[in-house]
């Protein structure tokens, strides 16, 4: 799309460390614990996400998957543990500062700006690439106008890629669910993230919509080289897409490894897969 592919396209996923495209850890969670007023949501969870991989987080409802993403986004502050991002320990940051470090995400229940057009939603994702001052914007001269056009071009590229050109001027509130999910991905991609967090990107979609979404995710990972962490309930999708999988249950990590390892992990089967595979 915009950038040349930087990583190999083949996903082998035999063992956690042997994926041929993965590099150093981009993000490590170490001993993270999070609780709300005494109720523990995450207990002592550690795992890492390697540069260039697709990392899936799975587990039953209420296992603490979304809480993990919220911790990574800086929205929840864990009581214990630390986060290492690109080799350095990350101090306690506000969510918008995390975004500036190159972490973008989508949400489980769509969190688009409903009153704005699709284009404006996507342009909002470029926020950290726009630097013009108040005066320049007020007069619509110089830097402000230039930046607006440059970023518009970039966003049009993403809009083309995600095949949502026909709705770019439509208000988001008027869109159907599947398209909203796509717009949300577009908004996240607009920020050119180094790490992209997807919270159930395919929940509630039809088979065709899921296939489209998988295609987009794989393309982003392969061609742009964006590292992706995703939460998903559809096991078929998870096993096909991801390089490595973390399994959560009751706030704890109960499994971690390649899709094949997870499929054969007894603890995981007991807690989760056993239920799914009747």
């Amino acid at each position: 799309m915009i950038h040349a592919a930087t990583k190999g396209a083949e996903a082998s996923g035999d063992s956690p460390l042997a994926t041929d495209k993965a590099g150093d850890p981009i993000l490590e969670l170490r001993d993270i614990s999070l609780s709300f007023g005494g109720v523990a949501a995450i207990k002592d969870v550690s795992f890492d996400i390697l540069e260039g991989e697709i990392r899936a987080i799975i587990g039953p409802n209420g296992a603490g998957k979304s809480s993990i993403l919220n911790v990574i986004s800086g929205f929840y502050v864990p009581q214990e543990g630390r986060i290492v991002y690109r080799g350095a320990r990350r101090p306690s940051l506000k969510p918008y500062q995390v975004a500036r470090q190159g972490i973008a995400r989508t949400f489980q229940s769509i969190a688009l700006f409903e009153g704005m057009s699709v284009l404006d939603n996507v342009m909002t994702g470029r926020i950290n690439h726009m630097r013009s001052g108040l005066l320049s914007q007020a007069l619509w001269r110089g830097r402000a106008e230039r930046e607006e056009v440059e970023n518009r071009k970039f966003c049009e590229g993403i809009i083309d890629f995600l095949e949502i050109q026909h709705i770019r001027k439509t208000r988001v509130a008027q869109l159907p669910y599947g398209l909203k999910k796509r717009v949300e991905l577009a908004r996240a991609l607009a920020s050119e993230p180094k790490l992209l967090l997807l919270d159930e990107p395919m929940a509630g979609m039809s088979v065709e919509e899921k296939e489209d979404m998988c295609r987009f995710i794989l393309y982003v990972n392969d061609e742009i080289g964006t590292t992706i962490a995703l939460i998903e309930h559809d096991m078929g999708v998870v096993m096909d897409l991801s390089d490595r999988v973390v399994v959560m249950d009751y706030g704890r990590k109960i499994g971690d490894g390649s899709p094949d390892e997870i499929r054969n992990n007894q603890a995981v089967i007991d807690a989760y897969l056993g239920v799914v595979h009747d």
């Binding site: 709300f36 007023g37 979304s66 919220n70 929205f75 949400f107 229940s109 969190a111």
Partner: protein, 327 residues
């Protein structure tokens, strides 16, 4: 020593003012809990009910001025005087009718809207009712006397005179108002805990969907809640109307109750009571001690600034529930 005694008198007066603030604030809390509507019109409801009460007692012709202006007639009074208790019952009837109309015409169409839209709608409602009240009963200041005792309480005056050598000035009306307000709170709490409708009201407050699923009629509950709020407004209207006449400024008690709510939390009846007392006492003591130095009339803003500072540190108020945000 003298100053301390004055301060004590100010304290007691503040306490009584605070009780009335609490009373208005409770009206807000009731509607807010059950329907998520922050009812700015609560103060105007008090004004409207007091106007209606006086109008009924004096046998005034509703919309007299309007009728005269259109038809060139000279109708003003029916020529009867209703006893207070009858007029109060009739006024309550009017308030229930009003609750029904408000629910039916406005809020039924605003279900699931954002709270701030509902809030602005109640501001519109307040304007409408203010115009309506004046249109029905005229805008002149009216005296309201339903036989509540008024004037200095001689008992307290002589008691404190003996004790401190200085007689406290405490109005009988304030004392009565305090007892009535306290009684009203007890009745409301008992109503919401021990009657079927009260339980339904609390159920709706807790979770609309769940309440619906066990067969509670939301429509009925909301009309009920607005009626109860109308009743609270009537009581507040009687107290303030008796004290300082029924006039436009009565509707401003809503503005007094807002900081009480911010302090106490919008969802808590104990919060409304404690918040009301803190603000009643606080503003009187502040005016007494700091007011003279900085120009007086600090009561206009003290409550707000206090609540504002407080909120910055504890956004959910004293007794409000802590909100855990999710995405």
């Amino acid at each position: 020593m003298d100053n301390l005694i004055f301060a004590a008198e100010v304290f007691v007066n503040g306490l009584m003012a605070g009780v009335l603030y609490s009373l208005v604030a409770i009206g807000f809390v009731l509607i807010y809990k059950a329907s998520g509507i922050f009812n700015y019109a609560q103060g105007v409801m008090a004004l409207f009910s007091a106007l209606t009460l006086v109008g009924l007692m004096n046998g005034q012709v509703p919309f007299g001025h309007l009728i005269n202006a259109i038809f060139g007639t000279q109708v003003h009074h029916f020529g009867w005087h209703l006893p207070a208790i009858v007029a109060i019952v009739l006024t309550m009837g009017v308030m229930v009718a009003l609750a029904w109309i408000v629910q039916r015409v406005i809020f039924r169409h605003l279900i699931n809207q954002e709270p701030i839209i509902l809030f602005m709608a109640t501001i519109g409602l307040a304007y409408f009712m203010e115009g309506l009240g004046d249109m029905m009963w005229g805008a002149d200041i009216k005296k309201l006397d339903i036989g509540l005792p008024q004037g200095i309480n001689t008992g307290i005056d002589s008691f404190t005179a003996d004790l401190f050598g200085y007689g406290f000035f405490i109005d009988n009306l304030d004392i009565v108002a305090t007892f009535i307000a306290a009684g009203l709170v007890v009745v409301l709490v008992a109503f919401s805990h021990y009657t079927k409708q009260g339980r339904a009201m609390r159920a709706v407050a807790d979770d609309h969907q769940a309440a619906l699923s066990v067969g509670v009629s939301l429509n009925f509950i909301w009309i009920l809640v607005w009626s109860v709020a109308g009743f609270v407004a009537l009581v507040a209207g009687i107290m303030w109307g008796t004290k300082s006449g029924v006039q436009f400024s009565l509707s401003l008690i809503a503005l007094k109750a807002l900081p009480v709510l911010m302090l106490g939390g919008f969802t808590s009846i104990p919060g409304a009571i404690v918040g009301g007392l803190i603000i009643g006492i606080g503003e009187k003591l502040f005016e007494f001690s700091v007011g003279p130095i900085i120009g007086g009339a600090t009561e206009n803003w003290f409550a707000y600034v206090l609540a504002l500072i407080f909120l910055v540190f504890r956004p959910q108020g004293l007794f409000g529930e802590r909100i855990i945000e999710r995405v």
